[in-house]
Symmetry: C2
Subunit: 233 residues, 2 copies
DNA sequence: TGACTTGTGGTCAGGTCAACCTGAAGCTCA
DNA sequence: TGAGCTTCAGGTTGACCTGACCACAAGTCA
């Protein structure tokens, strides 16, 4: 088509990883995410999303999981494609054109919290990202947060943050952290139970300093398309 | 990472194009889309989505519009990224790995209907696609139709099918075609007017065989992200 | 003129949702 | 031991939304 000299192009895969942790100041749960410090140009020493060039032998989602695990040690419970970024003026400082297929992932609270930070990786609350990031990663993160907030209101993905069994108050605190506002406990309870995405285990939590809550588990999902990965081992 | 011989990889851009036309049998409006007959291997002589290799000098959306216009002559009014398909087992018959960034587009009724079918292009109602298509394009189309149906219920994209001025009955027929069910005219009217996405022009349609309806136009939109292209020239 | 068609506007019953209230069931501490 | 505290569990109420239905408006057509 065009007679210009062939410009080098890189196809990369990266991931916005969401985790739930208490904020050091307030103690309230908030969204955190890991960032990786770049060790080479372009954008040397700037923070960036975990990612890397597409391994030609792997599926896109597998490649995302692979680079994610290698750099941050986390194993996501929910992985979903966010968007493909690849405009020509995307990062004018980079010498080659980069098309990035970006995923977002949710990590289980219990698995996540025991992970030690790897080298050149730092976790930050999403409201306190040390910008500006490399490439257009600030934009990508804002988009991912918005997508997560929208999706949590119509899809039972919040469960992905929790262990196998949880109380409705646990689930409510997840929603509150994502949406960044308080929810009425009894209205929340009615909504969740009416949508049939959790089922009663018959057991109750023990050792609480108050009335012990019932324990629930996620109900089996019925997804029409295999474009989302959940509950991977 | 892997020491295997470098496998050739192609980055392609293709588009699911939706248009509204009366069905030849019933006369009711339904969704149609153009398919292109492949003239080379793999999948020679099979129908496929319009698309082609990514032009390295163009933005992703521009590349999609470019190949779309070149093959089918249409100019979309609404263009939106659907998904990036690129699993390694995506089309076992193809010799090289193809990563496709797929867009979906809505074409205005009036512009669209005057277009003559280009060579090797045929329009089909979405319910009567002559499958199986090339690659995994059947899956892609099903996914795109579902996304369109979902999105039309919470976003004012149906306007993209209509000319600048339209009656609420026109708009209702668009919704009915997309959702494939009848809608109550007066309830539809109440909903649309309450959401503020249309504004009264003060004029009425003339030459109708009944009470002349008011004409409306789309109200200016407020989009938070520039990831969707609308109203392109 | 009267039948017909489609647009426009309203009513009404049922469901949903947020705000609020009350009791249940554990713990802690005097 | 029992009062007080905290959180869970479940109910009530009123505002709002939605779908089904009704009635009239304003044109054309025979």
């Amino acid at each position: 088509m065009s007679a210009e000299p062939e410009q080098r192009m890189v196809l990369a895969v990266s991931t916005v990883i969401f985790s739930l942790r208490p904020h050091p100041d307030t103690g309230e749960f908030t969204l955190w995410m890991p960032l990786v410090r770049r060790i080479r140009e372009p954008f040397k020493d700037r923070w960036a999303l975990p990612g890397g060039p597409l391994d030609n032998g792997l599926d896109l989602a597998e490649a995302a999981k692979s680079t994610m695990h290698r750099t941050t040690q986390v194993q996501p419970r929910h992985l979903e494609q966010l968007y493909a970024f690849g405009d020509v003026d995307r990062s004018p400082e980079a010498p080659e054109r980069v098309v990035s297929i970006v995923y977002w992932a949710l990590v289980r609270q219990d698995e996540d919290l025991q992970v030690v930070d790897a080298e050149n990786v730092e976790w930050h609350p999403v409201e306190e990202i040390p910008g500006p990031l490399a490439f257009d990663h600030d934009l990508i993160i804002r988009y991912a947060v918005d997508r997560l907030r929208a999706k949590v209101t119509y899809s039972p993905i919040a469960h992905a943050f929790l262990p196998d069994e949880f109380s409705l108050a646990d689930l409510r605190r997840v929603y509150e952290a994502i949406l960044d506002r308080a929810l009425d406990p009894s209205n929340f309870r009615r909504q969740i139970l009416s949508q049939g995405t959790v089922e009663d285990t018959g057991r109750r939590m023990t050792g609480t300093a108050h009335r012990p809550p019932k324990l629930y588990r996620s109900a089996p999902k019925s997804s029409r398309y295999a474009l989302t990965i959940e509950e991977n081992p």
